[in-house]
C-alpha cells in the first residue's frame, strides 16, 4: 500500500522528484551551481531589490517635497519683490490695509464679487517654511470604523498582551544571541542557553504571534460576517488561558522542566492543555460567529482562520497523545508537529488576516478570490506532508523523507498563488508606499512569504540539505519566515486597524523607525547566518576539526547580534507606537481642538 502511494506521488511529481534526486550526484567543486543554492541566492536578491524599491520610493517622496519647498521659496521671493514697489504703490496698499482694519460687516460679504484679499486682517502670522523639514507627515486615517466597544476591547487586550510577549520573547532572544559571543555572560541555571532557547521560541510563537493573530482575527470575523462576536466572555477566557500557558510554560522551562526536548513542544502537556482549551474556545467562538453571519457568503479570510484553528487543535492533540510516539516514533511526530505548527497555524491564520486587511487598507477588493481558494486547498494538501524534511538523511524511513521533499517542491503552488494574489491586489496602489508605512509592511511580508517559503523548499533538496542542515542557516531560515513573513504581516495588520479603531495614529517617524530597524536588522541577521552557515557546512564537508567551524562562526555571530539588537530596538519602538494608538483619551478635549485650529492656520 505504501509503495503504491509512493508510486502515485512520483507520477504526479516526477519532474520535481527528479530535481530532488538530481542533487545526489552533485560534486563539492561546483556547489555554487546547485539549483538550491542558486535559487536561494536569487531569492535574497529579490528581497534586496524590493528593499531598494521601497527605499527609492521614500527618497522620491522626499525629493518631491524638496521641490515643493523650492516652489514655495520662489513664491516667497516673488512676494518680497512686491514689497520692493515704489512709495505710491505702497501707500495705496497701506491705505487699503487701514481700511481693512477698520472694516465693518456690510452684509454682502458672502457675495462672489470679492477679491481674495485679507481685508479683514485674519492672518496673524506668516511662516516661511510651510512644511516640516525633517520628515514627511504622512496621510492619517481619520476614518474610524463603528465597532462595538466590547470588540475594541477584545482586540486591544489581545494585541497588548501580544506586544508584551514580543518584547519579552525577543529580549530573551537577544540575550541568547549575546551568549554566542560571551558564553560566560552569566552562570545562573535558569538563564542558561539550553533552558532559555525554548523560552524564546515558545514565547514568540504562543505569546506574540498567536495572541496577535487571534486578536486581529476577532475583528475580521465580526466584520466579514457582519455580525457580533458570539461571546465576548469566551474571548476573555481564552485570553487568560493562552497567557497563562506562556507564563507557566516559561517558568517550567527555566526551572528545567520540559516535555522531552522536541522543538516548540517543550511545554509539558498539563500546561499545553490550557493552550489547547483556549484554542477550542476560540474556535467555537469564531465558528458560531461565522455560522450566524448576516450575509450568505463566507469570506475567504474566514476559511483560512477557521481552518487554522481546527487544524491546530488536531495538531496539538496528535502532538501530545502518547500512544504512538516512543523512541523514534516521537521524531516523526516531531517533524510533523513543528512544521505544521508553522504551516497550519501561523501561516494559514496570517494569510487569512492578509486576505482581509490588505484589501481593506487599499480600499479595493482582493485581486482574485479563486486564487485564494486554490491557495487554501493546496496549503492543506501540501503543507501537511512535508514535516519530515527536517530529518533528511536521518534514520527515519527513506520514503517518508522523499514524500516530504517532493511536497516541499509542491509548496510552490500555494506560495505563488498567494503572493501573486497579494501583489496583484497591490498593483496600481504603489503610491501608497510613499504615503504611509502600512503598505511597506505588507509588501515586505508578502515578498518574504514568497522568498522565505521558496527558500524553504530549496533547502529541502537533498544537496542543499547536505550543506545547510544542522548549521546556523536553519536559524536564518526560521527568522526569515517567522519574522519576515508572520511578524511583518501582523504589524501591517495592526497598523491598519488599530488607528481606525481608536482614531489615534502613532507619529509616522516612529512607524518608519520601526519599519527600517526591523527590516535592516532582519537582513543583517539573515545574511550573516546564511553566509556563516554555508561556510560551516563546507568546513564540515571538508572534514576539518569541528572546533574550526565554531571559530569561523565568531564574526557572523557578532553580526547576528548586531542585527538582533536592531530588531529588538524596533520592537521597543513598536511597543511605544502601540501605546500611542491605544492610550486612553485625555479628558480635556478643548486642548486638542485648539491644536487642530493652530495646524489649520499653517496649511
Amino acid at each position: 500500500m505504501k509503495s503504491n502511494k509512493i508510486r502515485f506521488l512520483f507520477a504526479v511529481f516526477s519532474l520535481s522528484s527528479f530535481l530532488a534526486h538530481a542533487q545526489n550526484s552533485q560534486a563539492t567543486d561546483n556547489w555554487e551551481t546547485s539549483p538550491g543554492i542558486i535559487g536561494t541566492f536569487i531569492l535574497i536578491l529579490i528581497v534586496l531589490f524590493v528593499a531598494v524599491i521601497i527605499f527609492l520610493a521614500k527618497i522620491n517622496g522626499f525629493i518631491d517635497k524638496m521641490k515643493r519647498k523650492k516652489l514655495d521659496k520662489k513664491r516667497i521671493e516673488f512676494s518680497d519683490e512686491l514689497t520692493d514697489l515704489d512709495d505710491g504703490e505702497i501707500d495705496t496698499i497701506l491705505e487699503n490695509r487701514k481700511k481693512a482694519l477698520k472694516y465693518k460687516l456690510k452684509g454682502d460679504e458672502l457675495g462672489n464679487q470679492n477679491k481674495a484679499v485679507d481685508e479683514k486682517g485674519l492672518v496673524k502670522r506668516v511662516r516661511k517654511d510651510p512644511s516640516n523639514s525633517f520628515f514627511d507627515e504622512k496621510k492619517k486615517t481619520p476614518l474610524s470604523i463603528e465597532t462595538p466597544k466590547e470588540l475594541k476591547e477584545i482586540v486591544t487586550y489581545y494585541l497588548a498582551a501580544a506586544t508584551f510577549w514580543l518584547v519579552f520573547g525577543t529580549l530573551v532572544g537577544e540575550y541568547l544571541g549575546f551568549k554566542f559571543i560571551w558564553p560566560e555572560l552569566d552562570s545562573i541555571s535558569w538563564l542558561s542557553f539550553g533552558r532559555l532557547r525554548p523560552v524564546h521560541t515558545n514565547t514568540v510563537f504562543w505569546g506574540w504571534s498567536s495572541l496577535a493573530m487571534i486578536g486581529l482575527g476577532y475583528f475580521v470575523i465580526a466584520r466579514t460576517s457582519n455580525n457580533l462576536i458570539h461571546s465576548y466572555k469566551k474571548a476573555k477566557i481564552a485570553w487568560v488561558l493562552i497567557n497563562l500557558t506562556v507564563l507557566l510554560g516559561n517558568i517550567a522551562l527555566m526551572t528545567g522542566i520540559n516535555n522531552g526536548g522536541g522543538e516548540y513542544r517543550e511545554y509539558i502537556w498539563p500546561i499545553m492543555l490550557l493552550f489547547a482549551i483556549g484554542l477550542i474556545i476560540t474556535f467555537i467562538n469564531f465558528y458560531k460567529t461565522v455560522a450566524t453571519r448576516k450575509i450568505s457568503e463566507i469570506y475567504i479570510s474566514n476559511w483560512f482562520i477557521l481552518a487554522a484553528l481546527i487544524w491546530t487543535i488536531v495538531l496539538s492533540i496528535i502532538g501530545y497523545l502518547p500512544f504512538y510516539q516512543d523512541g523514534l516514533g516521537e521524531t516523526i511526530i516531531q517533524g510533523y508537529y513543528m512544521h505544521q505548527g508553522v504551516g497550519m497555524w501561523f501561516m494559514t491564520f496570517t494569510l487569512g488576516l492578509v486576505y482581509y486587511y490588505l484589501p481593506a487598507t487599499l480600499n479595493k477588493p482582493i485581486y482574485s478570490y479563486s486564487l485564494g481558494v486554490l491557495a487554501f486547498w493546496t496549503q492543506m494538501l501540501f503543507y501537511t506532508m512535508i514535516g519530515t524534511h527536517h530529518f533528511v538523511f536521518s534514520p527515519l524511513p527513506w520514503w517518508l523523507q522523499t514524500v516530504a521533499i517532493v511536497f516541499s517542491v509542491g509548496m510552490f503552488i500555494p506560495v505563488i498563488a498567494g503572493s501573486t494574489n497579494f501583489l496583484m491586489t497591490m498593483r496600481g496602489s504603489w503610491n501608497h508606499i510613499s504615503k504611509s508605512y502600512v503598505l511597506p509592511f505588507f509588501l515586505v511580508g508578502v515578498i518574504f512569504y514568497f522568498v522565505g517559503s521558496s527558500q524553504g523548499s530549496f533547502q529541502a533538496f537533498r544537496f542543499t540539505n547536505y550543506i545547510w542542515h544542522f548549521t546556523d542557516f536553519n536559524v536564518a531560515h526560521s527568522h526569515m519566515t517567522m519574522y519576515g513573513i508572520i511578524s511583518f504581516l501582523l504589524w501591517a495588520c495592526i497598523y491598519t486597524i488599530v488607528p481606525k479603531l481608536n482614531g489615534k495614529e502613532p507619529p509616522q517617524l516612529m512607524v518608519g523607525a520601526h519599519f527600517w530597524l526591523a527590516f535592516i536588522g532582519l537582513f543583517a541577521y539573515m545574511i550573516s547566518l546564511m553566509v556563516g552557515g554555508t561556510l560551516k557546512g563546507m568546513s564540515w564537508m571538508d572534514g576539518n576539526p569541528f572546533i574550526e567551524s565554531v571559530i569561523l562562526m565568531q564574526p557572523y555571530w557578532v553580526w547576528r547580534a548586531v542585527g538582533g539588537t536592531l530588531m529588538f530596538i524596533s520592537h521597543l519602538v513598536f511597543a511605544y507606537n502601540f501605546y500611542i494608538m491605544v492610550k486612553k483619551e485625555p479628558k480635556n478635549r478643548n486642548l486638542k481642538a485648539g491644536s487642530i485650529k493652530g495646524e489649520s492656520v499653517n496649511v
Binding site: T28, S187, A291, V314
Partner: protein
Amino acid sequence: MLDFNTNHKALVLTAFSVFVVLSFGVAILPASQMEKYEALPEQEDLTDQEFEGLRVYIGEGCVACHTQQVRNIEMDQVWGKRPSIPEDYHFSKKRMDVWRQSASLLGSERTGPDLTDIGKRQPSESWQLLHLYNPRAVVKESVMPSFPWLFKEVDSNRVKESDAVVAVPSQFLNDKSKKIVASEDALQLVAYLKSLKQPKMPENSEPEFIPFSKKKKEGGDQTADASSGLDGKDLFSSTCASCHQASGEGVPGAFPSLVGSDIVNTDDAEQMIRIILEGYNELEDYGPMPGFADQLSDAEIAAIMTYERSSWGNDAPEVKEEDVKKVRADLENATNP
C-alpha cells in the same frame, strides 16, 4: 455538496477530515510503525543512573545544540562508524514520566559536536566533569555554557571520601581554597554521556554512507588502504588532544603535560604503553586517565606514541607495533592466566 462558499459546516468538516486523514498517513501510522523496532543483540539498556542522566540532558536543553544522529552521508563519518539506524534509539523508548514524553534526541542544530558516539570518543569521566564545569578549561574556543550549578564548592578539609572531586585548574576557580565536587546530577549526566556508544551490528548488515561524489569516494578508499602509514599527529589530535591539548602541555591541575615528561622520554616504552592500554590514576591533583585498549589498535598506539616522543622537544626512540602487541599480550595473560 461543494458549496464551501456558503456552507460553513461543509467547509470546516472537509478541512478537518482531510487534515486528519493526511495526518494519519504521514504522521501517526509511520510513527507507530517506527515504534516497533527492537534493540540490537549487543545493545545494553540504560542503567537507572544513566536514565537519570538522560533526564538531566533533556532538562538542561542539551538537545538545543547537540545532535544524536549520524546521517548516512559521508561528511557524518567523523561522528560514528556507521549511519544511525532506528534500533540505536532503543534506549530512548521509555517515556520519561507521566508529565513528559520520551526524549527527543535527534536534534536539528549542530552548534556543538554530535554525541552519538561520545562515550567511545571521550571516555574520560574527569574530562567530562571538568568540561561541564567550565568547557573553556579544556577547549579554549568553546562557546558551550558552563554548568556550575551541577557542582558544589566544598572547603578542602570538608571533602568526604565518597565525593567526586573534579580536578579544576586554579585559574578557573572562584575561591582557590575550595574544591569542586560533582553533584549527583553531574555524575548521572556523565554516566549517560559515557553510555552513548554506537552498538555493534551483526556482521555485514551495517548500512553504508552515501559518498558525496565519485571523486571523493576514490579518495576515501585510498586513505582506508593506506592504514599502514598512520599519521600519529592526526590520531593524537583526534584521540588525545582533548585532554593533553594539541601543545602536549595538558591542562595544569587537570591533565598532565607530556612535554619533558619522564614517562614519555624514557627509552623503555613499556610503562607508557601500559598507561595507554590500561589507564592511569597515580598522580595526585590530576584526573584519572581511561584505558584505550578497546579503542585503539596496536599500530595506532605505536603511531601516537612515536609522535608524542618526538614532538614538543621530547626526544625518545620510536615505538613499533610489535612492542605494543607484546605489552598487550602480557596484560591479557596477567588478567586471564
